[in-house]
């Protein structure tokens, strides 16, 4: 089936098998390997991307379901060499160790702040409940998101 979607600002038209999962389409057909596949069972959140502005787990969505949609992956966040504020806050707050969960964590965090620009620490933890990290113990991830929110709201990071 022929599908068309805008990924990170670029329109792509591709022939896909209906059973192709969006995560595999992004990685294998479009070469966007920043979207990691962890558990492949919609638990870990490593494959989190944005579809029409909302976070989704791309291992649990068919590519054909995203036909006509606007998709953003981790590769689409930075502006050239300038990191997205959330990426920078993860870097500055040591919000990652091995980095495997990070693309999904950052995409989930950006979506979270769009829905709730000024979350409490508890709201950040609940908002990231769909993303698992096996290294950091979450503390610095939560700090990163809170720092980014504070920065967006004009406060000190």
């Amino acid at each position: 089936m022929k599908i068309t979607m805008t990924v990170n600002g670029v329109q792509h038209s591709d022939e896909v098998e209906p059973r192709t999962l969006l995560a595999y389409h992004l990685r294998d057909a479009l070469g966007l390997t920043g979207t990691n596949i962890g558990c492949d069972t919609s638990s870990c959140g490593a494959c989190t991307i944005h579809v029409d502005g909302e976070s989704v787990k791309s291992c649990t969505m068919l590519a054909v379901q995203a036909d006509g949609s606007t998709v953003t992956t981790i590769e689409g966040l930075a502006n050239g060499d300038t990191l997205h504020p959330m990426q920078r806050c993860f870097q500055e707050n040591h919000g990652l160790q091995c980095g495997y969960c990070t693309p999904g964590m950052v995409m989930a965090a950006v979506s979270l702040l769009e829905e709730n620009p000024d979350p409490t620490e508890r709201e950040v933890r609940l908002g990231l409940e769909g993303n698992l990290c096996r290294c950091t113990g979450y503390h610095n991830i939560v700090q990163s998101v809170l720092a980014c929110a504070a920065e967006n709201n004009g406060g000190a990071a």
């Binding site: 089936m1 098998e17 209906p18 059973r19 192709t20 999962l21 595999y24 492949d40 069972t41 919609s42 638990s43 959140g45 989190t48 909302e54 976070s55 989704v56 787990k57 649990t60 969505m61 068919l62 054909v64 379901q65 989930a108 979506s111 979270l112 829905e115 609940l126 908002g127 409940e129 769909g130 993303n131």
Partner: protein, 275 residues
């Protein structure tokens, strides 16, 4: 994990979805948000040969005040429920519970109709709609019919929907709510409930639904009967396992589930304001 091959058809209207169901019969499955069906297909526990995508039927995505009830389109997503002021006013139990389904990513895609029609005893929303005494509207080649939620669940992952019927609307009666509670016991934040309880106390009466206490979502009839006879929370909760058939699995033994059901029903009744 890749699902087995299937043909994919996108329905542009409810009528087209019903025509496609009529044409393909048992071989076809409806795809809404896909967050129950796709995991089963990836594990090859389900291998439909035709997927009929109803996910874009935006006219079935609504939450409306319909006088004596709230009408919810089957394609309404969990996130829509969770953020609905109307629902918060008229059915706060449903609004709250929708915010505890899966995780934010799941709630952006998953739909109330998909969750109810999938008929998983471990799902949150069936127990909530059982507690609230909702009515489901199904559309098929012979028109529309209403199914009381109490008649909807017929077996494990089985419902009263005919193979050529589409669930289109969920009707939640507007109750004068005195108190409500949703108790979900799990090990990890995003997991299915090991046991869950949805309870509502209203001027019109009480309702209690149980998650994961048998092969279908269950209504706790014994608890409600006790409440109607004026029992306090603890003695009503003693009847939590009447009519249940809890299963043993990796998470819990039957005895542990039954213990949880009694404790969670008591907590739910206390939280909903019963002494």
């Amino acid at each position: 994990m890749i699902p087995a091959a299937f043909d994919y058809v996108r329905a542009e209207s409810a009528d087209e979805a019903i025509a496609l169901l009529t044409e393909h019969g048992d071989e076809a499955k409806l795809l809404a948000g896909g967050h129950s069906l796709l995991p089963l297909m990836k594990l090859r526990l389900a291998s439909p040969t035709v997927l009929i995508d109803v996910g874009r039927l935006e006219d079935l995505r609504f939450i409306r005040d319909a006088g004596d009830h709230i009408a919810i389109g089957a394609l309404t997503r969990h996130r829509d429920l969770e953020t609905s002021d109307l629902l918060g006013e008229a059915a706060p139990l449903l609004q709250h519970a929708a915010g505890h389904v899966g995780d934010p990513q799941v709630r952006h895609r998953g739909t109330i109709g998909g969750s109810l029609a999938h008929a998983d005893p471990a799902s949150d929303l069936p127990a909530v709609v059982l507690a609230l005494g909702g009515t489901l509207v199904a559309n098929g080649p012979n028109g529309e019919r209403e199914i009381a939620i109490g008649d909807f669940y017929t077996g494990f992952l089985e419902s009263a929907l005919e193979p050529d019927e589409l669930l289109t609307e969920i009707r939640i009666p507007k109750l004068t709510t005195l108190g409500w509670s949703f108790q979900k016991f799990n090990r990890r934040a995003q997991d299915w409930a090991i046991v869950g309880v949805a309870a509502v106390r209203a001027e019109e009466g009480s309702g209690v639904g149980l998650v994961n206490m048998g092969s279908t979502p269950l209504y706790a009839a014994g608890v409600v009967e006790a409440l109607n006879s004026g029992a306090d929370a603890a003695s009503a909760a003693d009847r939590a396992v009447e009519g249940t058939e809890a299963q043993h699995d990796n998470n819990a033994t039957v005895e542990y589930r039954e213990h949880l059901a009694r404790v969670l029903v008591r907590r739910a009744l206390e939280e909903s304001g019963l002494a």
